[in-house]
């Protein structure tokens, strides 16, 4: 893993540590922040130590994210974010799950995209999976999910 990734990762953690410490020592009532202060003090020292090591190029642990890994992951991550933060509530859980599941299969399934057979297989897997999820959560566990489109 290259040095800049170490600096970025540990820098972010250090920034959170500083914010936690600042909030812990400035917010009132002080009694409510006694324990957070204790944690924040250790947190910021360890985070500072890690950041310092990263800046000096001494951080060794962690494989980082390679360019290939990131590019492979990016479409899945974007679909996940849209699914979780928008589609699940706006389209309804089951509709959103069907769409996200099918898109993820289409992107990552190693089967060739040129064959109609693989598309049919993906469609069938999606339908079966969503039916199982509906049976488990809506019928067996009685979980009432947001319903916007279809079901």
């Amino acid at each position: 893993m290259n040095r800049s990734q170490h600096i970025f990762g540990s820098g972010l953690v250090f920034a959170v540590g500083l914010w936690v410490t600042w909030v812990s020592y400035t917010q009132q009532p002080a009694e409510a922040f006694l324990f957070p202060r204790l944690i924040a003090s250790v947190f910021v020292v360890l985070a500072g130590w890690t950041f310092g090591k990263a800046v000096m190029g001494l951080s060794k642990v962690g494989n980082g994210v390679t360019r290939t890994m990131f590019l492979n992951m990016l479409p899945g991550l974007i679909i996940t974010l849209i699914y979780v933060f928008w589609a699940a509530k706006s389209l309804g859980f089951y509709t959103a799950t069907s769409v996200a599941f099918f898109i993820l299969l289409s992107i990552y399934d190693p089967a060739p995209h040129s064959e109609a057979k693989s598309w049919i297989k993906r469609g069938i897997i999606t339908v079966i999976f969503v039916a199982v999820m509906y049976g488990l959560f809506a019928m067996l566990l009685n979980v009432y999910t947001p319903k916007e489109i279809l079901f």
Partner: protein
């Protein structure tokens, strides 16, 4: 011998069905590379909400036991360990399978798992009530240090870097403070409305263990694992029985090593399997056969990784300190039913405690019986493309997190923690201490505040928390675990540097 009175409760139709379902499902999930036992148990928690506490725990316990054993199927037939605990099994198990002895390796693996597992659960049965009573003597300062001990031990032993492990624990402890303060009612670190009620443990567990796996599968792109299932020929189960008990040295070493390692918080099945394999090789008269498809290797590794399951629950059930990430998830399963481990569990809910522990004993036998039949199917499931697994786990995580309280906020928290944890793991941080911090944070804080009140009225905070035999012992163990890990890290670094220099 109180546990005997509750044996019947395991055999009620629903309980037994759950035990059976958890065992078979766990075997299949365990065989699937990428689905760790911890993640499998975390994803199952939402299914226990509508069950009684004992029944919910039966399902989770069965899944825990059998996922560890199920991991041997893919280790033997695919050369891909289903879980880190099965790494040592691959060394001889897969070589046996390649020689056409796959069935023998599987039979020995499940039989050894059952023997080790039963011994481990018996240890749990006999140690737990004694330690739970002993824990009654613990005051707030001791419980505070115990919680800190839980975080530091896992933080230092489970991570490649001691500082990053401890930092992960601190992040977990901080996350646990988000929300409203219990005593003053003050808002703490609520920077988004979804955090108003604090971070829900179950949603967090699902996110921290499942989402990084999903993203790791995405990061591999459109590739197949390329692993082919080795066909399994028939082999007499009686011959496997005879062979197992003729290899008593490997079986004993594996079982004892696994049980002892299981009792140490933070040291997982992976270590148990590898240490048992190594020790078994050292004491074997056929050292040279190890690694070439020797049955002793499989027996030692598998008896060890299942023997650690029972003892790993001892610190959890007696002191509320989860000994492993999976035990932390089980603690989450207990807390959602309003049950706290420790003496309260055995005094006020003995039916829950003993039915759960007994079910793990029966589960070991079921796992052994069904493991042999399910192995073929499990190996096929292990070949399911990662794209399908990733999409399934993602959807289960979203539904699971939502079903906790019917809140989208929990889903957002689950996703944010999961995505954050993926990147943190890539930067060398570990999920286990973070989870421990999140779970033990409220216990540590409650005892810190309570102890502080007692201290203010008596001897003062410094004396109350830093003096007394038990306090000093716990502080010493905390410091020793950190010192040991620092020493190991430095030693490993020196070793690596030497190797690099030679290269």
């Amino acid at each position: 011998m109180e546990f005997i009175y509750y044996f019947g409760d395991v055999f009620t139709p629903l309980s037994f069905l759950l035990l059976l379902g958890g065992t078979i499902g766990g075997l299949i999930l365990g065989a699937t590379p990428g689905l760790s036992p911890t993640m499998a148990v975390a994803l199952l928690i939402p299914f226990t909400f509508q069950l009684e506490a004992a029944q919910g725990l039966i399902l989770l316990g069965a899944a825990y036991t059998s996922t560890v054993a199920g991991g041997a199927v893919s280790a033997i037939l695919l050369k891909i360990p289903g879980a880190p605990a099965n790494i040592a099994t691959t060394l001889d198990g897969h070589t046996m399978a390649k020689k056409g002895e796959g069935a023998r390796a599987l039979q020995l693996s499940f039989l050894a798992s059952a023997v080790g597992g039963i011994f481990g659960v018996l240890l749990l049965i006999f140690l737990t009530p004694v330690l739970a009573q002993w824990a009654l003597a613990f005051g707030p300062s001791h419980l505070f240090w115990l919680a800190i001990l839980g975080v530091t031990v896992i933080g230092t032993l489970d991570s490649a870097s001691v500082v990053k492990g401890l930092l992960s624990g601190c992040i977990g402890l901080w996350l646990a403070t988000i929300g409203f303060d219990d005593i003053m009612g003050a808002q703490r670190f609520i920077f988004h409305p979804a955090l108003g009620g604090g971070i829900n443990i179950i949603a967090a567990l699902i996110g921290l263990f499942a989402i990084p796996q999903v993203l790791t599968m995405f990061a591999k792109g459109r590739q197949t694992d390329g692993a082919e299932v080795i066909e399994v020929q028939r082999h007499s189960i009686l011959a496997a029985f005879r062979e197992l008990f003729s290899r008593t040295r490997a079986l004993t070493i594996g079982t004892l090593t696994g049980s002892i390692i299981g009792l140490i918080p933070g040291v997982g099945g992976q270590i148990a399997g590898l240490v048992a394999y190594d020790q078994s090789k050292k004491f074997s008269s056929e050292k040279e056969k190890f690694g070439t498809g020797h049955s002793e290797g499989v027996i030692a590794a598998e008896s060890a990784n299942n023997a650690m399951v029972g003892p790993s629950l001892v610190p959890l059930l007696t002191l509320s300190i989860p000994g492993s990430p999976t035990a932390a998830v089980l603690l989450g399963g207990l807390l959602i039913h309003g049950i706290f481990p420790g003496s309260d569990l055995f005094d006020n809910h003995p039916d829950v405690a003993w039915t759960f522990i007994n079910s793990m004993l029966i589960g070991q036998v079921l796992m052994c019986i069904f493991g042999l039949y399910v192995a073929g199917l499990a190996a096929r499931v292990a070949q399911v493309p990662q794209s399908v697994m990733a999409a399934i786990v993602l959807a289960l995580s979203v539904f699971g997190a939502y079903s906790v309280q019917g809140s989208m906020g929990d889903v957002y928290v689950m996703a944010c923690l999961g995505i954050g944890m993926f990147f943190l793991e890539r930067f060398g941080f570990s999920a286990a201490p973070l989870v421990l911090g999140l779970i033990l944070g409220p216990i540590a804080e409650a005892n810190f505040i309570q102890g502080g009140m007692i201290a203010d009225a008596t001897v003062g905070k410094a004396s109350y928390f830093m003096t007394g035999g038990l306090n000093l012992l716990l502080i010493a163990v905390v410091l020793a675990s950190i010192a040991y890990s620092v020493w190991m890290e430095l030693r490993h670094r020196r070793y690596t540097t030497k190797e690099e220099a030679q290269a």
